[in-house]
């Protein structure tokens, strides 16, 4: 097998026009991996059930058929062993895509992730790179209990040395995967099960969307203004982007203009886009499906406050209160950042507009 260096592959387009062909997020991810595998012999896929099963959330469907068992490896249930295998391959110049089935399982492999994958580049004085992608499924909303429903991106983002991305739609999913595989840094690629567009899960309408057929990149570390508005900024990521957009759509007829920012990555965090928006609106709500304390929501608000606290007429957050995710549906939806909770937070932040028009607000 020939080992390629980044210089050997031409740079793909950056954020081209979406076009008209539609894919699910899961299919967009697979297409990005397959195109990279065709372009670069050093790209391999390994993890639990990534082969014949195609990934339990369809993130690797069909790759085994095209690329065979030399490049698509089903591994035993030992996350430490196969993530370590990926790290070793990456340090030798390959570009492995390694799947940790659920982010919730990081406890059994975190030494490999944060002491090795994330630190080898630093500890080697920049001489050894780890161009690896660790993909993992995150998020709740489908009664999978406290050990299969967490997002935990704040935990990974807190530890230095890894880029952390979480797409909300098929277009970004493909472009971020291409960028992640091509990146010389280790990237944690966190896909929410609720945005994959899977036939057997409750489907978000925006989980099917236009995706260019050619390879392209969405730059890691650049947020997207998903909706423009002047009254209030909702900063969010992943599935919660859709809830934020739904709330913005619902409140628009009342004259409430909400700006929605899809961060797309936690590391690097696009603080400039956040601050540009809050400079305009003066009101900030962070919607985060991770635990509230010590995480993304606090980091976003602190980033604005450090730049200029006078920008903030309002700052609050809609996150998971600091409890495990319940299994019972009603209890689970009581802690998730649902559209109802987001709408209530918006009305609290905009008392005049919110109160004046609230009687007719419920659909």
């Amino acid at each position: 097998m020939s080992i390629t260096t980044p210089a050997q592959t031409a740079s793909p387009l950056v954020e081209p026009e979406p076009g008209t062909r539609r894919l699910s997020t899961a299919k967009a991810i697979v297409e990005a991996i397959a195109q990279r595998m065709r372009a670069d012999d050093g790209v391999v896929v390994l993890g639990e059930d990534v082969g014949a099963y195609g990934g339990i959330f369809s993130s690797t469907t069909g790759l085994l058929d095209e690329f065979g068992t030399d490049r698509v490896l089903d591994t035993p249930i030992s996350e430490t062993a196969f993530i370590g295998l990926g790290i070793g391959a990456a340090t030798e110049g390959m570009r492995p895509v390694v799947e940790l089935m659920f982010a919730d399982f990081f406890g059994v492999c975190m030494d490999q992730v944060y002491n090795h994958m994330a630190k080898i580049h630093f500890e080697s004085g920049g001489h050894v790179r780890v161009p690896m992608v660790l993909t993992t499924a995150v998020g709740g909303g489908y009664s999978d209990g406290a050990q299969h429903s967490q997002t935990l991106w704040g935990t990974f983002a807190h530890l230095p040395g890894m880029k952390v991305v979480a797409p909300s739609n098929p277009y970004d999913a493909k472009g971020l995967m291409t960028a992640a595989i091509r990146s010389d840094d280790p990237v944690i690629y966190m896909f929410h099960k609720g945005v994959m567009g899977l036939p057997w899960m409750k489907k978000n309408p925006r989980s099917i969307g236009p995706v260019p057929a050619a390879e392209y990149e969405v730059p890691i570390g650049r947020a997207r203004v998903a909706r423009e508005g002047r009254d209030l900024t909702l900063v969010t990521i992943s599935l919660s982007v859709h809830h934020a957009l739904d709330v913005a759509d619902r409140l628009a007829p009342e004259g409430i203009e909400i700006e929605v920012i899809d961060l797309r990555s936690l590391v690097p965090l696009d603080r400039d886009t956040i601050i540009r928006s809050v400079s305009k609106t003066g009101r900030l709500i962070v919607v985060d499906e991770d635990y509230q304390s010590f995480g993304l929501s606090g980091e976003v608000i602190a980033s604005v406050a450090e730049r200029d606290p006078a920008l903030l007429r309002h700052a609050s957050r809609v996150a998971v209160p600091d409890v495990p995710i319940p299994y019972a549906r009603d209890l689970e939806y009581a802690v998730l950042p649902t559209p109802a909770r987001i709408e209530a937070a918006v009305r609290e932040a905009l008392p005049s507009k919110g109160t004046l028009s609230s009687p007719g607000a419920q659909p």
Binding site: T20, R21, R22, L23, S24, K27, G197, P199, W200, K203, I208
Partner: protein
């Protein structure tokens, strides 16, 4: 004019399924390389591509239960 049939995914001829996702809308141009739908019976699902080119009209809604072999779209 040609119909696109719901694929036979189950050996049980009476088994019903659903179009779980439409990737195209009525009035769009499609050809045999266009992924038009995902169809599911029980826990098996399969991608659906048309055999001919033309303008598609969808005949069933996402999630509507249909028998295998039922015409789910028409291409003209």
């Amino acid at each position: 004019m040609a119909d696109v049939s719901f694929p036979r995914l189950s050996e049980d001829a009476a088994a019903k399924g659903v179009v779980s996702t439409w990737f195209v809308a009525s009035g769009e141009r499609v050809d045999p390389s266009t992924l038009i739908a995902e169809a599911a019976v029980d826990k098996a699902d399969v991608e659906v591509y048309p055999e001919t080119s033309g303008t598609i009209t969808l005949l069933v809604a996402e999630g509507e239960e249909v028998s295998q072999g039922t015409a789910i779209a028409r291409i003209e």
